[in-house]
Symmetry: C2
């Protein structure tokens, strides 16, 4: 009979909220340092805004909200009797919970285009909801932290986003992340070379296994997927894809000689990598990875994905890329966008695993006034008021402890909440202040108390 919460959702305890706030504040502060401005959009959108934007699978995973009132009145009787769930949905539900922050952002840009000065650099930190099967690091309600620029095609944006990842992860103490970068145009070039766009995913999936199954295994898998020996021959350089990022680009350039688009992709990547090399990264590594095929139907230029440091078993903790026509779905064409996302919940799990929350300030009071003598209550409340006016987190144990047992309960409360300072008694304006860590106890006046705790 104990109450519970829906599968894939979570309650957050005070410590967890403090840790999450710590991560979010680091991300938000960096976003603002880089010139991004916050916006927020509603938790639910009109269904037509979201449906059809994430593919068939996405449509299925969007949480739909039932219309209010007598929602069945307008539903088609035949469809109801046939129990045609799919078709009935649009008749009984007009709203749906946000599935990501990108589509609502595109909707926002189009809706508010006359109020916005472009290029528009916005950030957004809000929850999204997906009816996905929950697993480690995957929840049905989770926060996304996105920064995007729309209205500029400059590759300096790509450079800045890589610096932004580096800045945030450095600030969080999460060193040695790997920022993987690819370019959609390079993938298109590879597709041209292997002679089939529709084999591209099979190709990258197979290639991604090179470390595990070796060249022979990869070639075998490619052949089984219908990629010809001749095509595989042409992409030989990918089987020995080592050296620096610039080495890799040189190798790609040779391989993609016959593809204009492929060569463009290499040029774009080279610009970004040269710039990042010149500017330097503090704690992250940048790595060209041609198997990166994230959001293949979505991105048109750069593709990013961030991996946690080696040894931490977690999917990507961030990702993004450039999309040349983000707002086209809502009727505003030719607005290029590029952006990245931080996966708050996964970053949380990584920081936890690596013990990186030590510095987080817990939202607990610094001092508590115990309550053993009702006659001094008012004096204590006055002292408390003075402390709080000095922004010292403080509280008063509310219930009078007369018996030994009741007084013990108050001390137990202090220990369990790990409160550092305790005022245990007050006589003639003299407070007895105990430091619970050192065990030291002093007697002091109110002004000394404020100074001591400030």
């Amino acid at each position: 009979m104990k109450p519970s919460i829906p599968k894939g959702t979570r309650d957050f305890s005070p410590t967890e909220v403090a840790n999450r706030t710590y991560i979010m504040n680091a991300i938000k502060a960096s976003f603002e340092t880089f010139g991004f401005q916050p916006i927020e959009t509603p938790s639910f959108e009109n269904s037509e805004t979201l449906m059809g934007k994430y593919g068939e699978e996405g449509d299925r995973l969007i949480f739909k909200i039932l219309n209010s009132g007598d929602y069945l009145a307008k539903a088609d009787e035949k469809l109801l009797s046939e129990k045609d769930s799919l078709k009935v949905t649009s008749q009984i539900s007009e709203k749906a919970l946000r599935y990501d922050l990108t589509v609502p952002f595109a909707r926002y840009v189009v809706q508010h285009q006359n109020e916005i000065t472009f290029p528009f650099k916005r950030y957004q930190v809000q929850p999204v909801w997906r009816a996905d099967r929950p697993q480690k690091g995957r929840f049905r309600e989770f926060f996304q932290c996105d920064a995007d620029v729309v209205g500029s095609t400059s590759l300096w944006q790509e450079v800045e986003f890589i610096q932004l990842y580096d800045t945030v992860f450095t600030k969080l103490g999460l060193h040695k992340t790997t920022i993987k970068i690819n370019n959609r145009k390079i993938l298109s070039g590879i597709a041209e070379v292997i002679g089939a766009q529709d084999k591209l995913i099979d190709f990258t999936v197979a290639l991604d296994k090179l470390d595990k199954i070796g060249k022979d295994g990869v070639v075998k898998e490619m052949l089984s997927k219908g990629i010809t020996e001749e095509a595989i021959e042409k992409v030989q350089p990918l089987f020995n894809f080592t050296g620096s990022n610039l080495d890799k680009l040189a190798s790609l350039e040779g391989m993609l000689q016959t593809s204009e688009e492929g060569k463009n992709g290499v040029e774009e990547l080279r610009f970004v990598i040269n710039a990042v090399d010149s500017l330097g990264l503090t704690s992250a590594n940048l790595e060209v990875d041609v198997t990166l095929a994230r959001g293949l139907n979505y991105y048109t230029g750069a593709i990013f994905e961030v991996s946690a440091p080696k040894g931490v078993n977690m999917g990507s903790i961030g990702g993004g890329g450039r999309y040349d026509d983000l707002t086209g779905i809502f009727g505003l064409n030719d607005v290029s966008g590029v952006g990245i996302s931080f996966g708050l919940d996964r970053i949380y799990l990584v920081l936890e695993e690596l013990g990186l929350f030590k510095a987080v300030d817990n939202p607990k009071p610094k001092v508590i006034f115990l309550n053993f003598d009702a006659s001094t209550d008012l004096f204590k409340m006055k002292a408390l008021k003075a402390l709080r006016e000095n922004n010292i987190k403080s509280e008063f144990y509310p219930d009078l402890g007369e018996s030994n047992k009741q007084q013990k309960r108050q001390w137990k409360y202090v220990t369990s909440r790990e409160i550092e300072f305790v005022v245990s008694s007050l006589e003639n304006d003299v407070f007895t202040l105990k430091n619970m860590i050192s065990g030291d106890q002093i007697e002091c006046s109110l002004s000394e108390l404020v100074n001591k705790l400030n």
Copy 2:
């Protein structure tokens, strides 16, 4: 064809987010100063957690989430063919959006009772959703900011909550709010005196009109509602309910002589008022108001409601009270709770009307590097990196401005975003920095630039 958002929801622009964050941070900081700790609960709960907790009207206003997949499969065919929306709901929907923060908090306390040290002082700042008819200050998605204590019956909590209201509104510059206070037990006493619990709402509604329609009007309305002349005679003091709060209590005490519960209510109020008088309030007024019947079936002791300063036309901007058995609905009995709520969206409207957002720091960059000469890009990016390492909000106009028109667009961007400092050119490591407010322009080195902007 322009995209839109659902009725009663809002997009928030960067300025609005900054203003909202300012209010939320003031509230959260005060909550923590008073010893409260943050928790968060999921946006949606199992339907059985919420349904039946807010009365029939509340049930109707709760947003329900459609089950995923083939949700009609399990629905009763007869009910579907009868289009019985009410009964079908529970067969096709198992989750619902949070309607307030109090019921999820009660659920949290019961579910996590073994991890919690009581008294538990928690705060929670999260959105809630209601399918209400939108109007000024009433939205379908809005934020609540709640602080509650469970597990203590001490009246010092009531005193602290009044101080907390005063602290937050003072911090926001919102002076002369009125914190109205009543006690459920006084209302019960009045019901005893007028001889009918079921007439209590009619009684308080009529009495509330005293200022507007005068004593004769109020008596007439009470008689029309079936309250007897004899009963009205017994509550004469309420028709001349003036003087200090203590005067009012004396008058109530005389009137409620025959009601034990009523006299208890007066005693409780007297304790709270005496304490608040001794401690003092900075900017708010405390006012006993026996017409305050907020959450009548819910609260068992103190009842609070906060009005905006006179002259601002807005419903209550906060409210709360004591409920003796909050967690009983989930099977944990005898846990007394008391709490207050801040209505973020209404407070926003009041601050806006009174021009109290002037101090809010807009999340715009402090300095921008214009882009008129691609050959200096890398130097500018290096300077930008140095500024950002010093936490100076800064950006680089991404697209090269070669033509006059393109360069004008960059200056227009600066003006429209109200950016204070502009680096317009860079030659031989010398930056030209312009203050857009004073018009002053200087030439400086990188280290001078960092110092100047820091």
